[in-house]
Amino acid sequence: MTPNPYLWLIPALPLAGAAINGFFGRRSSKTAIVTVALSFCGAAFALALYMASTFSSASAPYYLDLAHWIRAGSFQADFSFYLDQLSLVMLLVVTGVGLLIHIYSVGYMWDDDGFYRFMSYMNLFMFFMLTLVLAKNYLLMFIGWEGVGLASYLLIGYWFTKDSAASAGKKAFIVNRIGDFGFLIALFLMIKHFGSLDFTRVFAAIQPMQPETAGAGLLTSIGLLLMVGAAGKSAQLPLYVWLPDAMEGPTPVSALIHAATMVTAGVYMVARSHVIFERAPAALTVVAIVGTLTALFAATIGIAQTDIKKVLAYSTISQLGYMFMACGVGAFSAGIFHLMTHAFFKGLLFLAAGSVIHGIGGEQDMRKMGGLRPYMPWTFATMGIATLAIAGIPPLAGFWSKDEILWKAFNVSAAYWLIGVITAFITSFYMFRLMYLTFGGEYRGAVAQEAHGHDDNGHGHGHGHGAPHESPWVMLAPLVILATLSLVGGFVGYGNRFEHFLAPAFSGATEVAQEAVPTAAESTLEHMLMGVSISVAALGWLLAYLLYSRMPMLPARIAESLGGLYRAVANKYYVDELYAILFVKPVVDGSTTILWRGVDQGVIDATVNNSADSARHVSDNLRHMQSGNLRSYAGWVAAGGAVVIAYMIWMGVR
């Protein structure tokens, strides 16, 4: 490991930007706010690029011990940063996509009152995310972990005056917290058994341990608990419920946090802890199963959603499921590859959706869209590229990464592959459904008729309303850049180059052993499976085309005939309601009856009130001593005197 004294600057620069905007932004001009936010974020990106330029596959990781933090006996945790190939990939994704989204949100949020607050929070999020990615020990990573949760809460509930937004922010934070609890217990186990949370020390201690094939052991427990944390942060079953509600936040937030970066933190953490997972096959299987099931589950919900952002939210959950499936079968670099391409096309999808919403005056219901292609050609083009990418149509980026995962999954178990293929079909279907509903057919919305568009999500328009219109260039430029990346970004993985690049980070991973030259049979099988995924994606497209472009009456009839099943899917399988009954209601009721009425009112308040009451009662009774009657005073004196005499006699006699 080589020391690098500039590593700390990468997180620190956005923090400075956040601080400046946070403290001084209220009275600054918008230009100043924008300059501060973009320059600090851009500087972080430039620094990341510089680091990347000096890095190659064979480089030793950089590290930096910035300052002492915790020294408690034999336990030690410092502010230390670490940059290896894995963190470099994450770093570039976070800073690059983050910078693009910052630029986009300048245009999107320009007319909002709390503009300075928004940019400050975005920079703050960058700081925490970069801390998470660059941390050299689990504790600093956990700081970043919690911090991105905080930033997510702040940004989801950005329009805090709206009840649903505030509640969504709380829901995100609380559900995340449940996952964090698992993460913390994993950290405690690590401290207890390895005496440290530093990556190098922990992994060095684990390296000589045998894989736990005989059931649950220490590493399996740690792995499972880490997975709980990842499930909370990356919205996997059963802790995914916060992500659809998080769409209450502004669209750039959804793009940055809930598509490209924060939700990928769980995948990064699992990949970083591959040493643990590789020696705990049971935990790894759980990861794979959770990922696979989540992918399928979320995809099925996505086909019945009518809000454009909700479709994308469930799509995110589904794609994250793919990443976990990849990690679960040991293909960590494939998971990271998909993370990278997903950041490109999902970020693009969200930004483009934001552009659509912006262009039709705040409407998010797809049933009220349609026929927008002539009004927003650039948005249509970029969104189309993203849709092709996510559906897995070659040669776009999504195809390469998704196919890599499916191939690696097939080598472990055909069941994973099959479910992955089905999910790919459903993904393609609902994404093209989205495209056709939004851009095809006739415009079903209300904006053209009114003079003023109606803001549903509270953000204002600077330019005049009227017919649907294209977004300004400040918003379109990031779309174009991301579209380019979605087009060409997949070639990074061509010929296993990406895998080779990440190999040192995953040294000891099982997939490196598979790096041997594939046999002819394997190669044919791989190409056959590739063909299957392409045809499945095309099938999904075809189905969407038929249902939503050719025969637009049909979906409604199908929905009616499916009746209850359709309603269940459209209502997200009533999971939120189920959680409300199973968890929320008992906690709230228990809290009300036991903790509030029982403890707070019954014990604490009662103690205070009763002590006051008893003081009053005592004084009420004692005041009879002061009756103004001389003889009663004499009586008291005589009685007291008798007591004193008795006491003295007793003391004397003893």
């Binding site: 005041r623 002061q626 009756s627 103004g628 009657n629 001389l630 003889r631 004499a634 009586g635 005589a638």
Partner: protein, 100 residues
């Protein structure tokens, strides 16, 4: 030859009568006289112990007790006169304006 205890018992009886009078009687002057009775009982006790221990200071102390009793009786009776002027009664139960 009288045992010392006899003197002390007599002193105790006088003192107890004084306290009982203080508690039972309603006339303020009678209550004062009960106080004097108490003091007398104590005086007897002083003198008895002085004789028992052959310490003359016991008898000297009786003087002081008497002086204090005189002073207290003086002031107390003056107060009774002042109270009687306004309240027109010597019944101690009717002088109870200081009750809560």
């Amino acid at each position: 030859m009288v045992p010392l205890t006899y003197y002390l018992l007599l002193s105790g009886i006088l003192f107890t009568c004084g306290v009982l009078g203080f508690l039972i009687k309603r006339n303020i002057i009678t209550i004062f006289m009960s106080i004097e009775l108490m003091l007398n009982g104590v005086n007897l006790s002083f003198v008895a112990f002085a004789a028992h221990w052959h310490a003359l200071s016991g008898q000297v102390f009786v003087f002081f007790v008497m002086v204090v009793a005189a002073a207290e009786a003086t002031v107390g009776l003056a107060i009774i006169i002042a109270v009687f002027r306004t309240r027109e009664t010597l019944n101690v139960d009717q002088v109870n304006l200081l009750k809560l």
